[in-house]
């Protein structure tokens, strides 16, 4: 129960930060995708199941306040969350560089999936594809990961301790 509440709190905080703070710290019009960063960081610790669920709800909330097609962000982030979860137990180093690299790659994948989905349904409002924006965002996300990954790790480890001593 405690763990589930922490999961929901992390989701809500990521969403609020994304829709309010992200645009305040944009560089050259590019803002980081906090929901994606937290999805990947969490999935790395919690595995593909929880990664996919977090990605789904994160994308769902993102779609709620977007003028884009509902369900596309959920779709892309479910896949990203699941694949990132497959890295669980495979990241042997405690360094933050590997998760940052994973976030960089998954950011590109996430945007490509969104463009694929928009193209597949022939959405009129889809933006022009610009890889420079995707690359910029991926780099920014990787940078943000350096700060977020230790926080998520601390949260997960704390939750594990609580579960263990209950």
């Amino acid at each position: 129960m405690h763990r589930r509440l922490a999961f929901i709190a992390l989701l809500v905080v990521s969403f609020l930060v994304q829709t309010t703070l992200a645009s305040e710290i944009s560089i050259a019009g590019i803002k980081p995708d906090f929901i994606l960063v937290v999805t990947v960081c969490l999935a790395v610790f919690e595995g593909p199941g929880r990664g996919a669920v977090f990605g789904f709800w994160g994308g769902f909330l993102e779609d709620m306040v977007s003028s884009a097609v509902m369900g596309v962000s959920s779709l892309s982030k479910v896949i990203v969350g699941y694949l990132a979860g497959e890295l669980k137990n495979r990241m042997v180093s405690a360094s933050v560089l590997l998760p940052a690299l994973a976030v960089l790659l998954f950011s590109v994948l996430n945007e490509l999936l969104k463009f694929l989905a928009w193209a597949a349904i022939g959405w009129d409002g889809r933006p022009a594809f610009r890889f420079s924006v995707i690359a910029g965002m991926a780099l920014y996300n990787a940078l943000v990961t350096v700060g977020i990954y230790p926080l998520v790790r601390r949260l997960v480890e704390r939750e594990e301790e609580v579960t263990l001593f209950k």
Partner: protein, 285 residues
């Protein structure tokens, strides 16, 4: 044990993918009044109080950081008088915030006075789009306050910001003039030459004049023409920044710098009356 967990995860993935696919399919096939569209609008309303709360916390923080960045030269003095200075700085920040807020409201009031025949509704900006692909802002007024789709949105000085594209009871989504999906009928204020402004993304707006031989100079003011009926005429949009040579399609690339500070929007004015009488002009050829 491990196998069963893998199987469970895969089943979960498949279920979530099916739900997402179904949502996308239904959303793209249903109209504006469809159940998912309505759910989306309802959720925007439900989430907005939370966003408002966070914005209230974030804004003073940002202003504080900006202020601190300006105080680099006074570092030594600040160290010496740290305690007293901290207290004074807090007071100063608060006063500065109040002064800016006062200036904003005064500008809004002045503008509303100059447009006595219009009905303008002030609104707080409570959020922005989550991704990097759309230039939208969420504002804290909706159809319960008299807002309707396609209404023009201005900054506190009366410069064009964009138009309302989605409307819930207490929140609305504003598509900024720099978005690629946004276009407005426009004209050069100096000689009345009419055309269309289109968002180009990344804070850029392009003006396409109907008369390709029209006289246009840098710093010319561009205002709305009222064409299309979604926006009253005479609202300032921006000034001409760049005029490129004739292109292969014989059109000229005229780049406009928006007058509204789109990256720093905190409060806006919605033009409730005159109401929009038509749909927006298509932004894409």
């Amino acid at each position: 044990m491990r196998e069963s967990e893998t199987g469970r995860n895969r089943r979960l993935l498949i279920i979530l993918l099916i739900v997402s696919f179904l949502t996308v399919t239904v959303y793209s096939r249903e109209g504006d009044r469809g159940i998912i569209h309505r759910l989306q609008r309802l959720s925007m309303d439900a989430i907005s109080p939370l966003q408002r709360g966070v914005v209230k916390v974030v804004r003073p923080l940002r202003e504080g950081l900006e202020r601190l960045a300006d105080l680099g030269s006074a570092t030594r003095e600040r160290d010496r008088l740290r305690e007293e200075n901290d207290r004074l700085r807090e007071q100063l920040l608060e006063m500065e915030r109040l002064r800016r807020r006062n200036d904003e409201l005064k500008s809004m009031l002045d503008y509303a006075e100059s447009r006595r025949d219009w009905e303008l509704l002030a609104a707080d900006v409570i959020g922005s789009n989550a991704d990097n692909w759309k230039d939208t802002r969420q504002i804290g007024v909706g159809y319960a306050d008299g807002v309707e789709k396609f209404m023009a949105v201005l900054d506190e000085r009366g410069n064009l910001v964009g138009r309302v594209t989605e409307c819930t009871a207490h929140t609305s989504l504003v598509l900024l003039i720099t978005d690629k999906q946004c276009s407005f009928g426009a004209k050069l204020e100096r000689n009345g030459e009419a055309g269309l402004i289109k968002g180009e993304g990344e804070g850029v707006i392009r003006l396409e004049l109907i008369n390709q031989d029209a006289e246009v100079e840098k710093e010319d003011l561009v205002v709305t023409s009222g064409m299309g009926g979604t926006c009253p005429p005479g609202i300032s949009i921006g000034t001409v920044r760049e005029i490129s040579e004739l292109r292969t399609d014989l059109s000229r690339g005229i780049i406009i710098s928006p007058l509204a500070g789109l990256s720093r929007l905190e409060r806006v004015l919605v033009v409730v009356s005159p109401r929009p009488t038509g749909a927006p002009l298509p932004a894409r050829e």
